[in-house]
Amino acid sequence: MANYSTNEFKSGLKVMLEGDPCNIIENEFVKPGKGQAFNRVKLKNLRSGRVWERTFKSGETLESADVMEFEMEFLYSDGTYWHFMKTDGSFEQVASDKAALDGSEIWLNETDRVTVTLWNDNPILVTPPNFVELAVIETDPGLKGDTASGGSKPATLKTGAVIKVPLFVNIGEVVRVDTRTGEYQGRVKQ
């Protein structure tokens, strides 16, 4: 497996640190006057999602991590595993456990395209699209014509996610949601 030296570190590079695959976020070269150079590096642990800050001696190396991102279509969940299929025409499928989903399962709509991160061919991270469109399956009855009062109420979506929607939204309507914040963006006309 290839090794990367600190001067090759750049945002997006995948490396192994303390046994976990990490994504480099930031790499700052620090050279005090005539002193020893070092690099202050911010990395995101792709398994835990935690951001680490580490100081490396310049010239130190880290092993590259066999991490690849694929666009995949979400097929279905059997309750224990979530199944995805590559969209590159290979029809290859992978099954992800709940840990890799890390809460994002509530945004997975069948046939939606997501980004699946594989480490040594195993899914470690599933990133849903930034915006998804999901039908409302449960909410209090809407107040007809109330599009201005600014109030909100909880609504359950078909995937089980519960979000806040304006009072006028009714069961059966499809809403657009930002998966990064869980915020309602608007109604989608069918």
Partner: protein
């Protein structure tokens, strides 16, 4: 636009020195000897020598003959220095003032920058650089941040402080600990233009040793920091060849400790040194000056050729 920017700065620098009768010199970029500094790596030119990491040695050789003030603007080369404040090739202004003491050179450095900024003010906004520049001793900065006297603090204490800041685990000399702590905790906070003076003796490089107000031995040098970036570096130049040889040998000892190749001693410099007039010398990074003035995030943009 950047082309014009650099051109205007260089024109102003030259105008300043020419008006004060400092003559411009050119020394060879390829030198016989590699840098003697432990952590500055020269780029080798096979069968020829090394690209200079600074024109210091060659200019000192000139000084020993010409005896009067000189300046040079030239490209310098340092292997593996790559970052938003670093390039393996960058442009340096270096000047030596015959008969100056360091205080006078410090005043001149500020005067030079004031002059350059005024000269380019019509086309480039430099309003964010505040004059007069601040002055503070290395000791005060270190005391303020770590509550330790950098000249007397024990190696053990330095190691503890460094480890707490996640210093990579290798053999370290006193100077390396000080550099690490300074670079991580002190330097980023020096935002307004500030001269830092009276450095620890172990960081004397080619500066004379003197005594500070409290009678402590210090290296007679200063650095100028602006917005957390080291812009200039100056010495009261050492003229004692024996002392310099000792420092070169010490550097080689530290190189060995780090598993690096020893560097042959530049004996030509040792011969020139006693013939040099009393002088103070400074170097200033032109690309960093451009970065500071323009607020650009990266010095590499000044070299875009696409």
């Amino acid at each position: 636009m950047d082309l014009l920017f650099r051109s205007e700065i260089l024109k102003a620098v030259r105008k300043y020195f020419y008006s004060t009768s400092v003559i411009e010199v050119v020394t060879p970029v390829i030198q016989k000897f590699a840098s003697s500094e432990v952590f500055i790596e020269s780029i080798e030119v096979k069968n020829y020598g090394y690209l200079h990491t600074s024109p210091e040695h060659a200019m000192k050789h000139l000084l020993s003959k010409y005896k009067d003030s000189i300046f040079q603007i030239c490209p310098v080369f340092r292997a593996n220095e790559i970052g938003s404040f670093h390039k393996e090739e960058f442009q340096m202004l270096e000047w030596y003032r015959s008969s100056f003491d360091l205080t006078k050179l410090l005043e001149e450095t500020e005067k030079l920058l004031r002059f350059v900024l005024k000269e380019i003010a019509a086309n480039f906004d430099c309003g964010h650089l505040r004059f007069p520049f601040q002055k503070i001793s290395y000791k005060s900065l270190f005391l303020n941040t770590f509550s330790e006297n950098p000249h007397t603090v024990s190696l053990k204490k330095l190691s503890q402080l460094s480890r707490r800041l996640n210093m990579p685990n290798i053999n370290h000399s006193r100077s390396e600990y000080l550099d690490f702590l300074f670079a991580l905790k002190i330097q980023p906070k020096i935002l307004t233009p500030t001269f830092v003076f009276d450095y620890p003796v172990c960081q004397a490089a080619q500066a004379e040793i003197s005594f500070d107000d409290e009678g402590e031995k210090v290296a007679n040098r200063f650095e100028l920091f602006i917005e957390g970036v080291e812009l200039a570096n100056a010495y009261q130049e050492l003229r004692d060849a024996g002392e310099l040889l000792t420092r070169f040998n010490d550097n080689n000892a530290i190189r060995r400790l780090h598993g690096k190749k020893e560097v042959p001693v530049d004996y030509q410099l040792l011969e020139s040194l006693p013939l040099m007039p009393k002088c103070a010398g400074a170097s200033l990074g032109i690309d960093r000056l451009m970065k500071i003035i323009s607020g650009s995030p990266d010095i590499n943009r000044f070299y875009d050729i696409d």
